[in-house]
Assembly symmetry: C2
Homo-oligomer: 256 residues x 2
């Protein structure tokens, strides 16, 4: 469709420490896709004027829930039900995490996953291989079968009944048998889950968009992409990583 | 042996950006092991008084060679030949890297590996599995066979004749065959190489000690270790990761 008929995507992006550290990744991806965003670092509260301002998608990524007031979270819930989007990305301060504490909050309750009430971080030295679990516009065009990426860790959450798991992270035991690595399946975790809430869309990606949990996924693809958001250092990442997160953001913001 | 008869280990540590970012990892490991260190961030030159001061090991990790004068590098070379240690750890500004440019320098030439003259960074989305290649006190006590860690990337260097490769990173193609991941060997890169120079020891670890290249190795082990160096944020990492880098530092500094 011609650009002028696409819904305009504008993001309120909260978390990932600061633009000059971890947030340089997602901010770089947004800039690369030409998506306007308002940014709130992890150590600052979300302010009323931003939540009441213009946005079609809220992204919460490694941002502690106590800095997002219940009143303002309720504004987000109500706008999502009227057609906006909500995306939570994993990290040590996402979902429950270590100080994320999103369980029992208005935003946490709106997500397509159940968040537990204790530390849900899974820092994993064993192979965690991404696997596609359902067909969907976010993931169908990407080579999850022929070239699955690996990740380094995630928040352990559960899929809500009625919502859809698109990707899982399959964990294996690994050992060397001579020169041959032996993999034995040991666990499966939901990684990408999507759902509808009223007129809006919600999604969770329970690993991280930035090191260290993003793992080798950050370099997914043969071609390299360089991008720089205003106020952030440049990033150099894989083209399939770039395409995956761009598709996730656009779909959750309401794009077809 | 009783502590007082052990050679005293004191480190001159250059690189990994700054203590409040990537250097918090190795600095935390040194603090955890009770090892005194002098620190030089990646954007500051190495000063004469530090190089002429007391240290038994120089660690250069993601530090650009132009900030380490040839004259002071020659002091390092001469002290290593008399019994001190030299360790280079990989990263985007290590070996050749992107702006590391250690090829053709006194420190670069002393290392047990050959550094090329162009970008040697290998950002890898495919499984890079660590494999032990020789017996040695740094690696023998660790479960590289029964629980090999994965890494995310490395500098591609070559082992010098006469020096010893202790670890390699074995790269595999990966695809899903139904629910079974299929691995196919595709390349092998030197990861840990050691050597002797006069009375001193030299070593290179060509992946990174910090995210993102360290990959799942940072979480290697069942138990978690928390540590904090003065001036750095705390780290929480795997116990086998901690033991590996502690052994590497102590051996290169001259411990039996």
């Amino acid at each position: 469709m011609p650009p002028e008929t696409k819904p305009r995507v504008e993001v309120l992006y909260c978390g990932d420490t600061s633009l000059d550290t971890a947030a340089s990744y997602l901010a770089g991806l947004l800039a690369n896709a030409g998506i306007k965003f308002h940014y709130v670092p992890s150590d600052k509260p979300v302010e009323e004027n931003l939540v009441n301002g213009s946005w079609s998608l809220v992204i919460v990524s490694d941002y502690p829930s106590p800095r997002f007031s219940r009143e303002l979270q309720n504004v987000v819930v109500s706008r999502v039900e009227k057609g906006a989007g909500l995306l939570m990305i994993g990290g040590w301060e996402s979902f429950h995490g270590l100080g994320g504490d999103w369980d029992g909050t208005p935003i946490g309750d709106l997500l397509p996953v159940v968040i537990g009430n204790k530390d849900d971080r899974w820092n994993c030295d064993r192979p965690l291989i991404v696997k596609q679990q359902a067909a969907h516009p976010i993931v169908d065009a990407l080579p999850f079968q022929s070239r699955p990426p690996l990740i380094g860790g995630l928040n352990r959450i559960q899929v809500k009944p009625g919502d859809t798991q698109l990707l899982s992270a399959e964990q294996f035991q690994l050992e060397w048998n001579g020169d041959t690595p032996q993999l034995k399946p040991s666990a499966s975790y939901p990684l990408l889950v999507v759902g509808k809430r009223g007129q809006g869309r919600v999604a969770t990606f329970s690993s991280d968009v930035a090191p260290h949990w993003v793992g080798p996924l950050v370099d997914w693809g043969d071609a390299r992409v360089t991008a720089t958001a205003p106020g952030a250092p440049g990033i150099e990442v894989g083209d399939l990583y770039t395409e995956f997160f761009t598709r996730l953001v656009l779909w959750t913001a309401g794009r077809p």
